[in-house]
Point group: D2
Chain length 438, copies 4
Amino acid sequence: MGKKGIKIVTIGGGSSYTPEFVEGLIKRHKELPVRELWLVDIEKGKEKLEIVGNLAKRMVKKAGLPITIYTTFDRKEALKDADFVTTQMRVGLLEARIKDERIPLKHGMIGQETNGAGGLFKALRTIPVLLEIAEQMHELCPNAWLINFTNPAGIVTEAVMKYSQHKKIIGVCNVPINTKMTIATLLDVPPDQLTITFAGLNHMSYGLDVHVNGESRLNDVIDLVTDPNHEVTMKNIIPLPWEKAFMKALGCIPSPYHRYYYKTNEILQKELEEFKQGKTRAEVVKQLEDELFELYKDPDLDIKPPQLEKRGGAYYSDAACNLISSIYNDKGDVQTLNTRNEGAITNLPNDTVVEVNCVVTKQGPIPLAIGELPYSINGLIQQIKSFELVAIEAAVTGSYEQALLALCINPLITSDVKAKDILDEMLEAHKTDLPQFQ
Amino acid sequence: MGKKGIKIVTIGGGSSYTPEFVEGLIKRHKELPVRELWLVDIEKGKEKLEIVGNLAKRMVKKAGLPITIYTTFDRKEALKDADFVTTQMRVGLLEARIKDERIPLKHGMIGQETNGAGGLFKALRTIPVLLEIAEQMHELCPNAWLINFTNPAGIVTEAVMKYSQHKKIIGVCNVPINTKMTIATLLDVPPDQLTITFAGLNHMSYGLDVHVNGESRLNDVIDLVTDPNHEVTMKNIIPLPWEKAFMKALGCIPSPYHRYYYKTNEILQKELEEFKQGKTRAEVVKQLEDELFELYKDPDLDIKPPQLEKRGGAYYSDAACNLISSIYNDKGDVQTLNTRNEGAITNLPNDTVVEVNCVVTKQGPIPLAIGELPYSINGLIQQIKSFELVAIEAAVTGSYEQALLALCINPLITSDVKAKDILDEMLEAHKTDLPQFQ
Amino acid sequence: MGKKGIKIVTIGGGSSYTPEFVEGLIKRHKELPVRELWLVDIEKGKEKLEIVGNLAKRMVKKAGLPITIYTTFDRKEALKDADFVTTQMRVGLLEARIKDERIPLKHGMIGQETNGAGGLFKALRTIPVLLEIAEQMHELCPNAWLINFTNPAGIVTEAVMKYSQHKKIIGVCNVPINTKMTIATLLDVPPDQLTITFAGLNHMSYGLDVHVNGESRLNDVIDLVTDPNHEVTMKNIIPLPWEKAFMKALGCIPSPYHRYYYKTNEILQKELEEFKQGKTRAEVVKQLEDELFELYKDPDLDIKPPQLEKRGGAYYSDAACNLISSIYNDKGDVQTLNTRNEGAITNLPNDTVVEVNCVVTKQGPIPLAIGELPYSINGLIQQIKSFELVAIEAAVTGSYEQALLALCINPLITSDVKAKDILDEMLEAHKTDLPQFQ
Amino acid sequence: MGKKGIKIVTIGGGSSYTPEFVEGLIKRHKELPVRELWLVDIEKGKEKLEIVGNLAKRMVKKAGLPITIYTTFDRKEALKDADFVTTQMRVGLLEARIKDERIPLKHGMIGQETNGAGGLFKALRTIPVLLEIAEQMHELCPNAWLINFTNPAGIVTEAVMKYSQHKKIIGVCNVPINTKMTIATLLDVPPDQLTITFAGLNHMSYGLDVHVNGESRLNDVIDLVTDPNHEVTMKNIIPLPWEKAFMKALGCIPSPYHRYYYKTNEILQKELEEFKQGKTRAEVVKQLEDELFELYKDPDLDIKPPQLEKRGGAYYSDAACNLISSIYNDKGDVQTLNTRNEGAITNLPNDTVVEVNCVVTKQGPIPLAIGELPYSINGLIQQIKSFELVAIEAAVTGSYEQALLALCINPLITSDVKAKDILDEMLEAHKTDLPQFQ
């Protein structure tokens, strides 16, 4: 690390989430003395980058801290000698997400940002860009950690680990910290007395057990999350209640995203309604974003506006800042991260990326051993891992057949014939962002 | 083996398939000198047992062979000192199968004999009966092999291996031999020059490669099976064509049953039509069976009537007789069977049952090593294995929660809420055959 | 934990090490408020127990702390409602150790306390006693952790995990902390900035890497530990220097005990000399102990006497107290412990005990994932694990054949014929402590 | 295969074993119609090649068969369009073997052709030559199988599988067939009714079970092989008797080579005596060979002379010819071979070479699944596998450090210091045959 403080680079710096990240850095400045924050974006996002950059500068000024905010389109300039690089970009912007959600729905299949056909296309668009970033890091800041928030976070992280020379990448997601905060509230215990044994893949991890002060409270938590009076989900997932007897039989805490797999029918019905009304989640988010950027423009605004909460990224900043701080300060605390398995989950290969509890030090994350997954959840996790591996292959090679295979083996696509129709339509719709398929 | 010839016992002897089995034994009498064939059934199946028994006697008589046919309701009397026991019974008769298919469809889910909710209930009804048979064998004929044709053959075989003292059980299915015969015809080569590397689970196994005279012909076969001019399926599966590009990407030969998973949508639509017309496969089969038994009654009939072919059990007799003969004669040939994995498929536990190529000798089947499954198919196989393990747990314990869990994690049941509805209705409908759930 | 403070029970309380443990508890009383320390021993050790108990009382008194010291022969009384139980007993006392070392040497094989024939016999004598203690804990203090220092610590811990109902056991050894302290000194860095990635089995673990502030210093450490100017070993191991080129090729830090395996020849020569002079390590230790107890008797002594250091248990107290404190205080720090593998080392079964870095909280230790062992060290670790598993089998069943097998597959016993001679002589020599073999 | 018959190439054709191989081909000419046999050797072996070539021609002439014998130093000419290539060469000739055996003994360590330091050096000399042959095959006869008899057969086969483009290699050894023949004689049953479940590595495989007509006779065989009245070993291994109680505990049939590991002491004593008398096995063999070549020169000799039996290669010809014939004729019988594991032994990696029972067809050998090795034998097998992997690394890279590491982790080398002395002396002694180390 630079002696004079930390240099952080945020790719996709014009994101509406940036103010939250800046707020997190300000709050932690004592333990995490950031000197420079570089917000990098593409020319197409110029306006947003400026708005966000200016807000960030006002926030830092208000806090009275010696953090310099830079905005740039020149990624290589920004990366030079960085200590940490965070990625939160969205290749193709929200328009691409709208297509990811609407095209599958048009063919009667679930349309979702990180699952099913939408998730595949987000991976196909994102992986080549992230591989390029990683290669530039290998050259310009080889010791820097790449903190990847870009979805689908697990797939993208695995692609970089396998296909880039820059191996220092960690995939981060706010679902685990969100789940922990929600369950702490339900149990009425301070979060730091709560340990959830997360295991699985990104957006596909389960809480295998819940301990408070060394004692398992799993059964209590299952009772609470299946109580119709509590809504346990994320902002961007339709909050359908779980069947209590099923949860008891499952014997662990699902992710909000598991609804797509265990309640496919109901979710699809809801989404089809939204589709007809032009109110898919992507469309709703686009409107929220537009409103947010209007707020951000206000030259008197010098804090993160409370409206950002609706956007769905709760604790995103905490997840990012905690991780950076634990590495920087060699803390050795436990965080839930996406990293190489190395036997932590014995049912999965050592070299694949999993989402598990890790000890975080200057060496990066080291996963805690889980052992064997309960067989009742192993099947779905394996199926999604199969999909992920084929998706990475498709993204890296630009193979039409591998992309079709990825769709056909995804549990949310229930027809090889429709898979081909969806694939053809999406390849056309996203073609400017998929050079590898041309 | 008895010095005077082999004693075979067939549980579910009143089945319409029995004449095919008898024909197979007659054809092979030189290498497989059967002395006694005991057809065992339950009192409820008395009429059918008599009809089939008499036909069998006429067939043997016509062949001029010293095989004595016995019919009995006393299973223990039959099992005493048996050399081989084959099981082909259907607990709850065809009426139960009709429920297995119609109830899920009523709730909008695929209704099928060995997959999804229907498959679960067939397992729940069958496993306790087979465990009882296995225990009786342990006492009355401990050296006899249990040749299990009863579906779902893989699940049932695993249940016996894990929960019975009688470990000499082999699960047999006619899908692999059928596939082999079909592909031999498509390639126009004699079947004995063809080797298909089958790997997976029962009704869920893939042909990983196809060799003719030591050379791979896999690509040719993929071309042929996806050629719309060829219909490659089984009698009891709707013959929807495969998407060619998907098959090329998959890079191996699917089972006809894979249509339920890769073409769920299309199959469901077809089944819903049949459901409305009262023409589910079970209902069609019931009519076919009634017609067959009318034929069997004819006192002048002393051969297997050609109409039996429509029933869907092609090569069933060959699969059974070849297995028995290879054990009896210590042949050492290769057959595709359901047996303990022992590392043959490295992605699956050693103690689980898989469907793979095996060398068959007097020691029973020994699987040939496959290594790691291609990751593109591993996911689905793992998911079905998860389902199978939970299904066995449910069948053995009679646990409502485990049965619900089995349904919820099955890829053909796409809603935890509907899973519960289906479960409740099916438990009620089958309650006389599910004593463990009372 | 009791509200009024912690109750600790030390089995083998009359050990010469006890004053060190008491000192550790006194130093940490603020964070580890011990209320009662029960020193338990057998009647045969009455004199020692009294001497040590009185010294402990004087130490506590001098420190002015509210810790009550109890001495007793009634183990069950002591265990009642304990919070932590530590075991450091030596079944058969030092006389048994002398036999463990001298009898193999008489037959030309290495004689050592925890390796080879000596290690086997220590395991055979200790396991039944520890299983009895564990069962009593299950009844009298089911929530208490059994902190096992009794050697061979890995084997004994695994035996309890597999054969006792009381699963809360952790095996502790002072080799890892000793190695860490030594290397910190060699590198001239504070120990808390140093992380060694230990992996393997007890007395058979390697430092796979060494990090200071997130950077690997492995090569420097290999240079230092092979520098003939530095002596890196334990008090109880002959300090023969390592061949530098071999260590470089090995590419990791061996345990001092690895000398028995990589320098068998030289160690055996040295031991044979000691044997002739009646100065095996056991005999030397016996004399040291006698001297120590003379010191302990001094009614004016109220601190741990410095002479204890020579005895060889450096950091033993730190290892024990740190572990107890981390559990009690839910610290979440990393310690090197013997616990269930659970995939941490992918080459070894999940249910076997390994010595690896663990996060320690109120839940106990959770191992950090290592992944696959380098193949160059995997072989020896597997061989010792084979020995351990057979040794446990022999200890639990009292099978002569299993005990012989354990000897024959141990790399330090190089003859099946001599193995039998050694076995017969040792079974006779230890017979009063081996009731299971009678 | 050529229409006109098979072309076989034998590298190391001047070996004294060749007449046995020729005899085997003559006996099987009906099922294995060999057209051409090319005996290839190096110029240094000119005299032997001529002697053997002429004897082979006389043998074929006497048999009246249309087999043409060629002798050549031009390996590429010989390999062109070959169907099978067998390798039985000895890089450095018997002089090298004498060094392999005498130098370790000089330093007090076991000297043996395929184990310990001798085995390492044989591998170091042989692997580069075999890799060259394999590459030439890839170019000149890509469909031909390389039937490798060259020791250490397992290591050499694995090196080619991992480092050559020519993957069609099978390692063959006459120990399994020898063991089978011996046990058939002891049990007094025809060999074809006997099945031994071999599992492990070359010269390190165990018979896990023995079946006659489907029934286990393992216990009888253990009784017989430990009966001092029966000598069960190979010609080139000192026939020390096994300790009966140890064998019973081991519960499986060891290889004759296991004496080096379980009776290291006794073997070393015997070898040291031989060493002093100049009668190591290599020296004895050299004399036997000289005598044999004298016999071979006799222009009236036109059969394999019976004196060849003493040489130690019993059944070598049967092992080779059976394998070639099973591939050529697509037999599908079971043979014990060295091939890729692919899960057959679940304790070992899929991509490593193991010695197991295989089904042999035109596709080559496919191993039969073994499952998990008994833990009592797993350790030693793992240790030898570690050694093999490091040895291959050393052979391919010419790394001094890896070669030293291989010696230090080998269980027959009991000192890192002596390992270095032996290494230095052997590298010097063999330097003309170890270009990769210069």
